[in-house]
Amino acid sequence: MGVRFWQGVAIVDGLIPAAMLGYWALTDQMGANPVDFFTRASGELTMIFLLLSLAVTPLRRLTGYAPFAKFRRIVGLLAFFYACLHFLAWLCLDKFFALGEMAQDVVARPFITVGFAAFALMVPMAVTSTQGWIRRLGGKRWSRIHRRVYAVGILAVLHFALLVKADLRLPILYGAVLGVLLLARLTRMAARQ
């Protein structure tokens, strides 16, 4: 089976959580507070796929298995897909399209400021993820845009950490994984200099 087959498998795997969320929503299996459940689940799925997308390159270097690179865009776009679900939950089910209120929140509430910034940074990456955009922008400018994924990762962990009431264990866990993935790159940069 070629890389295309496994890319297809990756896409199906990546959409399984969304399908399950849809099924749970339709069959009333989201607990007492379905909106809160959906918001949290889509947020955590964004985080998981974001970390997976950051893990692709270190994994490729570690294993020397070049085809890993062919999955980076898919995993990144899946992260953006879940970020969109997360954002839509906020827009439609928490704020009910009250755009003025949302703008106020972005300015006044740090965890929303940070979360919104992370989402805003992901949009240009998703838009320029095609071969055509890589060609149009040229490799250097394209990678500059896509290096923002590190900032998105840091902002996403911060967004999570800022919203919990007392239990920081899960944000710390995601932060630790992010730290390892960023460190893998920093040590490589240091070694090259």
Partner: protein, 302 residues
């Protein structure tokens, strides 16, 4: 030469590879589904209770709980509170009282008349329920212990026993959980000690066997599984106030005009409803309780 030693023909070799790949692909999908199920799925309680008109469904009231002694996510208490032993249970009333007493809970229950109260319940996180409690008035109970003139505040403390309350092994909060009221708040007829829910005894995840319910304040004031009530001259140091004094005040009266520093309190989601309701000052009990706070700046004393 034996036939079995010949190399596998190419078309068979390829179809075997296809088969293995297909199995691996299917396996990855099953694994993904299982992981998502493990990580995210939420089960409601089974076994229906009769509906109480106007109340939040029993299965929501008993599965969506903040009870950090059993875990910080709202579904953990219903899953993990089984380790709590609610009998025998003692409740001690002490401090600035002339008649302190260590009550055996059953003795205490035999000495009070229980009544049903349907109260709105507003969590500081922005969700709310309507809950049919069963209990008795805190004020009348305190009076039986003859408080002295030094009794200005009431402190209520949750059981501290990591054997029974496993999440007390973590340091997410400073255990034991302590809450408190001003004496006039504690004497208000709306403040009750609840021992039941939906006409039955209190489920463990809801704070069995005895808990405070103060319906005009955010839910975290209504301390669960109480073992000690102490009357004090000084304001007690309460748990959430100690954890984040700029976010959780001692008074914690429901107030749409005073936002939590990280989120607005203007609206709430009533469990079971998709839209949001406007939050009402004192959770709608202002006619009864507003006079307790006459002359106070509720923005300062939030």
């Amino acid at each position: 030469m034996a036939k079995s030693l010949e190399p596998t023909p190419k078309h068979l070799y390829l179809s075997r590879r296809a088969l293995l790949s297909g199995l691996a692909a299917a396996g990855s999908m099953v694994a993904t589904g299982a992981l998502v199920h493990l990580g995210f799925s939420r089960r409601r309680a089974v076994g229906a209770r009769p509906r109480v008109a106007g109340a939040t469904p029993w299965e929501d009231v008993t599965t969506y709980n903040n009870f950090y002694e059993f875990g910080t996510d709202k579904y953990s208490p219903a899953q993990r509170a089984g380790s709590l032993r609610t009998r025998p249970w003692t409740l001690s009333v002490e401090g600035a009282v002339r008649r302190p007493r260590v009550w055996d809970l059953d003795t205490l229950l035999a000495s009070v008349t229980l009544e049903d109260r349907l109260y709105r319940f507003r969590c500081v996180e922005g969700w709310s329920m309507v809950i049919p409690w069963r209990g008795f008035e805190l004020g009348a109970f305190l009076a039986r212990h003859d408080p002295t003139s030094a009794a200005k505040f009431v402190e209520l403390v949750t059981l501290h026993d990591p054997e029974q309350m496993p999440n007390q092994r973590t340091d997410v909060l400073d255990w034991p959980y302590v809450e408190g009221l001003r004496i006039d708040e504690a004497r208000h007829r709306l403040a009750i000690l609840a021992v039941g829910l939906y006409g039955d005894s209190l489920p463990k995840q809801n704070g069995a066997p005895i808990r405070l319910v103060v319906p005009w304040k955010y839910g975290f004031k209504s301390v669960k599984s109480v073992v000690r009530i102490r009357l004090l001259e000084e304001r007690p140091r309460t748990t959430w106030e100690a954890a984040a004094p700029d976010e959780y005040g001692f008074y914690a009266n429901v107030n749409p005009a005073v936002p939590h520093p990280r989120w607005s309190q203007a609206k709430e989601r009533r469990i079971g409803e998709l839209g949001k309701r406007d939050t009402v000052l004192f959770n709608g009990y202002g006619d009864e309780v507003a006079s307790l706070y006459a002359g106070m700046d509720l923005r300062k004393d939030f």
